[in-house]
Symmetry: C2
Subunit: 333 residues, 2 copies
């Protein structure tokens, strides 16, 4: 309770402590989340996803610095690492990044490794985002590594999703991009000074056309121009633009921020912002409901009964689906 | 029912049809899974995971062919692609692979894109594995793309997990490997004819030491030798070996198969096989229980009540955790 109050008054130490409570899902963290919830809903949540080797972390650092320069908002970075389910691989990266961004009180970085289950990871991330939101951070960057379901789940938390690519990461990566195209609001080709950048742009353009078949994307002289089929113009007013950046020297990052603000504006006007809020909070409600239902059920049945049923499955005397019926009916088949 | 009987009698068309039913989670698929369940539990389930660009699919093809040559078992390959959550990216790869393995009736390949949620993906994969197991496939290779939670979930389905790496995929990949080290039973450096192979071996060795701090791994003259700390020798008798392969010409694949059989033998002797069966089937039971609980609950509450509660959350008048209490109590706060 005290921690929540101190957070709302801008105490940085309280912020740090509360993030830990929420990440560890403690009773204090849970009740603080309830208390601060009325103060959330103001931040622009931006997901940044892409495979290893795309220079995504450097780009996120640069975005943080550049956002600060533009309109001076408080910026939070949540780095989610679903590929370290057991040990804290994220912590090392955290220290490296601190060095880049040190000295700016307006930027706060938090890393998080996976919490055992993917559902747990998305839920913990949602909690951290709420803490930052209530603490007055206007820009919240969520960074994820990889190209799997975790990214899709994290994208569900964001208002704007950036998908980052880089030249020369192999053909297989290109082939696996169809799913990412459908969550991308903005596509970024980072390391754009590397050879092969034109091929990457071409591959992204094709993947984008595959994901949005009625739209037409053209590229002229390094600039990407998007032309919509006229009869589909009403359906959605946003076509994911493709931008080039070189995060190591900051090239293209200002232009990227302009696109991010443009996407926000577009969402506000089209009603997409409200739709995403509904879907975001609906997912969070569903995840909590599911957790509560499973917890409540486990409390009701004796562990020995559960183990007995599992024994029958292992002996192939009972199929898992029949076992579920047995357990739900409270019987002891 | 008929389909299940035909499957058990070795009908290949019935196999194909049942796989589709199970993947689509139809009522027919569900009841067939119950019927065939007593005939499962014989297959050796091998998970193969690793990032994009490691040549994992080619390696899995070679493993299939090589297993066939060694002891002539029926081999199934289940290619799971969690990075294509919306569109069927896996299908294209399927066709390419069919060409390599065509003409051998003893190999069956099935690809599967993500099923909306990661839990759904793991459950559908478990179902396909049971169908192959009941149909007499003694070796079932499950291949996953990426390095995230999906891989960990799929590893839970396997008796033996191979983690595949390749030289020259960038530093970030190396840094993200701690989690994978803990699920790996065998480490494979594929594309071992490429430059940088010694660096990859060194990085894997370090990551392995980090994941298993009490064990000591040494590498001499290209061969990897593992020395265990004496006081820890009782705890687990298996140290993940590191092997080099060149899947494109088959180099090292026979040696890899020898290690896979050695791991199986070791698990049988140590009791690990039984422990993994328990954990495998326990996870499956839990996932089905959770699904049944959520489904049962949704049936009970009117959609309008749920939407009303969600509205309150969006207006920040009710925190998600309080909303769960409201819904579970059947009240209408």
């Amino acid at each position: 309770m005290q921690l929540a109050k101190e957070l709302l008054s801008g105490n940085r130490l309280a912020l740090s402590r509360l993030l830990t409570q929420v990440e560890n899902d403690t009773p204090e963290g849970r009740s603080a989340l309830i208390e601060i919830f009325p103060h959330t809903g103001k931040a622009h949540i931006i997901g940044v996803t892409g495979g290893p080797g795309t220079g995504k972390s450097t780009l996120v650092n640069q975005l943080g610095l550049c956002f600060r320069k533009h309109k001076n908002p408080k910026v939070a970075i949540v780095a989610v690492d679903p590929s370290s389910p057991f040990t804290g691989g994220a912590v090392l990266g955290d220290r490296v990044r601190m060095r880049d961004l040190a000295g700016d009180e307006g930027i706060f970085i938090r890393s998080m490794a996976s919490r055992g289950s993917l559902g747990g990871l998305a839920r913990a991330t949602a909690g951290l985002v709420q803490v930052f939101d209530a603490a007055g951070f206007e820009i919240i960057l969520i960074e994820t590594v990889g190209a799997g379901q975790a990214e899709v789940d994290v994208a569900r938390l964001a208002h704007t999703t950036l998908v980052v690519e880089a030249p020369g990461l192999g053909d297989e990566i290109q082939a696996n991009k169809a799913g990412l195209m459908e969550i991308a609001d903005i596509l970024v080709v980072n390391k754009a000074d590397r050879p092969g950048v034109e091929n990457t742009l071409k591959a992204l353009k094709s993947a984008l056309e595959l994901a949005h078949p009625v739209r037409h994307v053209f590229q002229h002289h390094g600039q990407v121009e998007v032309v919509e089929a006229p009869d589909q113009a009403e359906e959605s007013s946003w076509i994911p633009p493709i931008l080039k950046t070189i995060a190591t020297d900051g090239s293209g990052v200002s232009e990227l921020i302009v696109e991010i603000y443009r996407h926000k504006e577009n969402m506000r006007e089209s009603g997409d912002w409200a739709a995403r809020e509904r879907s975001r909070l609906g997912s969070e409600l569903d995840a909590m409901l599911q957790e509560a239902l499973v917890f409540g059920f486990r409390e009701k049945i004796p562990a020995s009964h559960y183990e007995h049923v599992l024994d029958k499955i292992i002996q192939r005397k009972l199929a898992p689906r029949d076992a579920v019926k047995t357990l739900l009916n409270g019987g002891s088949k």
